[in-house]
């Protein structure tokens, strides 16, 4: 389905860092010296091999450089084509997953300042997520505090799979900061690969790695619920980005059934997992992983049981659909305006502010 609504809010686009040189002006002397003297570059995340078909739609390939690195092209292809009112930049870069906490912090900080100066300043339609080094919640909170006053940052970005499960108390300072500043936590498909992509080990193919992202998303939701994160931080929103959608009803049913069976283990979980998910969790629609039969997709979307959860996204420049068909057939009509405008505004409250 092509875009029937003007002023859509695209909740997932990916400007790319061309290379470490781009970031050096946004680093202190130590890190400048470090990256130059050690000759280090190439911090593209392993979850997105830059030349894999999914990483760039064929007609969105830039004349040179990485997909998503050309500002003018992004403006015309991602913003103009879909008549976007806003688009949220989720810059996937190695700082999110570096094993060194301090290097991660340096890279995330540089990306955030670079996005603000060279993207957000140049187009009022752009908003961005704050990259954080979640490897160290202490440094992550410092980064959130440093940038929270810039209201063009509307979300905190982390990869779906890190070193530990996200419900654990280790990460709670991040959620406290997120709640304090009205920033949702965005979990984007991708992994630090500290654990195998499946519980039976390392698949041979990128295709299976990518498809298996759903298992990380599901596991993180179960962890956040079981550890009581949503009752500790009742205003927290978690956005699953590039997660796929059709697995969600099955997850909800199984989570409820299991919780009913053994909830005595986690007595602090008083609200049904279904209610917690519907209240606190949002998902971007691309890549929609639906069947050929749009009627079946429509039934699956109804099974989600909430009209508030899906957020419009193109996942630009990733290759998830053709032409302008960013909204899959099978989305119930009453949801289109919700998905494209109302749900994003409700999720990212900062989008409702006038920002100069």
């Amino acid at each position: 389905m092509s875009i029937p609504v003007r002023g859509a809010i695209d909740c997932d686009i990916h400007p790319a860092v061309p290379g470490i040189k781009t970031l050096l002006p946004y680093m202190d002397e130590f890190w400048q010296e470090t990256f130059i003297a050690r000759g280090q570059d190439g911090f593209v995340m392993g979850s997105y091999p830059p030349n894999a078909p999914i990483s760039c739609r064929p007609d969105w390939k830039p004349p040179a450089g990485l997909p998503g690195s050309d500002f003018g092209q992004l403006q015309s292809q991602a913003l103009d084509s879909f008549q976007a009112r806003f688009a949220i930049c989720n810059c996937l870069y190695g700082g999110l997953i570096a094993v060194s906490e301090t290097m991660a912090a340096a890279m995330c900080g540089a990306v955030n300042d670079w996005i603000a100066a060279e993207w957000l300043d140049r187009d009022p339609r752009l908003r961005a997520s704050i990259l954080i080094p979640a490897q160290s919640p202490e440094l992550a909170v410092e980064e959130i505090e440093r940038l929270a006053a810039d209201r063009r940052f509307v979300q905190i970005l982390m990869p779906a799979a890190l070193e530990m499960m996200l419900g654990k108390r280790y990460y709670w300072p991040i959620y406290a900061a997120a709640e304090r500043h009205g920033l949702p936590i965005g979990l984007h498909a991708g992994s630090m690969y500290r654990h195998a992509p499946t519980s039976t080990g390392w698949p041979s193919h990128f295709l299976q790695d990518y498809v298996s992202n759903t298992q990380a998303f599901e596991s993180q939701l179960l962890s956040l619920i079981a550890q009581g994160v949503f009752s500790k931080f009742p205003a927290l929103k978690v956005v699953l980005i590039e997660s796929g959608v059709t697995w969600l009803p099955g997850l909800i049913w199984r989570a409820v059934k299991t919780w009913r069976g053994v909830r005595a283990e986690v007595p602090w979980v008083k609200q049904s997992p279904a209610e917690q998910i519907r209240e606190h969790v949002r998902l971007t629609v691309q890549p929609i992983d639906g069947p050929k039969d749009a009627g079946v997709l429509e039934r699956i979307i109804e099974q989600i049981g909430s009209d508030d959860m899906l957020l419009f996204s193109t996942d630009y420049p990733h290759w998830q659909f053709e032409n302008e068909a960013a909204l899959p057939d099978g989305i119930p009509r009453r949801l289109i305006e919700k998905i494209m405008v109302e749900n994003p505004l409700a999720t990212y409250s900062r989008l409702k502010e006038n920002v100069q």
Binding site: A52, H195, T198, L207, Q208, W253, V256, K257, V262
Partner: protein, 371 residues
Amino acid sequence: MSLTLDRPAQRNEAQSRLQVIDCDIHPSLADDRALFPYLSAQWREHLSQYGNRPHTIYAERGTYPRFAPNTARRDAWPPSGKPPGADLAFMQRQHLDAYNIEFGVLEPLVDANTPRNLELATAMTHAVNEWQIAEFTSKEPRLKASIQVAAEDTEGAVAEIELRAGDPQFAQVQLGSRSLEPIGRKRYWPIFAAAQAHNLPIGFHIGGPSAFSPTPTGWPDFYVEDHHVLIHSMQAQAASLILEGVFEHFPRLRVVMIEGGFAWAAPLAWRLDKHWAKMRNEVPHVKRPPSEYMRANVWFATQPMEEPENPEDLRLIFDCIGWDRMLYSSDYPHWDFDDPARAFRIEMSEAERRLILHDNAVAFYQLDERG
């Protein structure tokens, strides 16, 4: 969409006494020396001194404490004092007779395939197979055994399959859903070759020797999480079998996913299809859309039943997977047992009920020939 069947259905728990085939019954060891008669003196001594040493944190139990003693139904403890699943006469009375079970497939979960010492694992799985015959199938023809193998010792596993293949007491090869590596990888292919050559299906039961964390992002704290994410290992195995080309190479292989849920199956197939369409050049050996292999080669056991908030959505799940691919399973004597008369919260026609409770299993296990 699959079969269109008549639907004059009425849910009536006292309706026709349909004969039932149960593809997940757990026999258990009467005590921790129950396998000793089938093990050499060396392994008996080894187990007594060192234990079986799987990838777990405690010496004598699994990492995640379960929620009921022996993971069992409270009423499944036999008066004899044996553990649930260890007393054949009690199992016959409480389960086989009570539910009109025509055949039941044993799925032993006795930590035989989990030792890191692969020679021990192979010896223990051999012992488990001997034990199933001696204690269960030789005494009760309604019970069928599984050929348990230590998949990590592929040579030993194939030898065990060859040893049992001609014995009609065995219905399938049993593998764990959590192998050390994704099960589609080439090192495991001799097992699939042997299974196909002997026309034996493979039953994947949740569990197994994996050394990896239960999730792609680490270790959960709680059983409520671990119990749930076990189903992800099934998803991983299904995807691995398809993407590594196992079904392309062994087109007559039949596998059933046991105790891993099934609401995920169609969404996984759609997701695989969507991304395969773009990246099939990475897996050139996968000639057809992944969903077609799923439809052709994969069956699903029903327990623990999916419970959609709108019960009628269960019908949509069966429609998407295929009514001919669902096999009833009880998980007796475990706490999350599914009663064949009560677990399906939708109205099914007599024909649909017969497929899931009986006929699909006859076809899958080829019980007409092996019965």
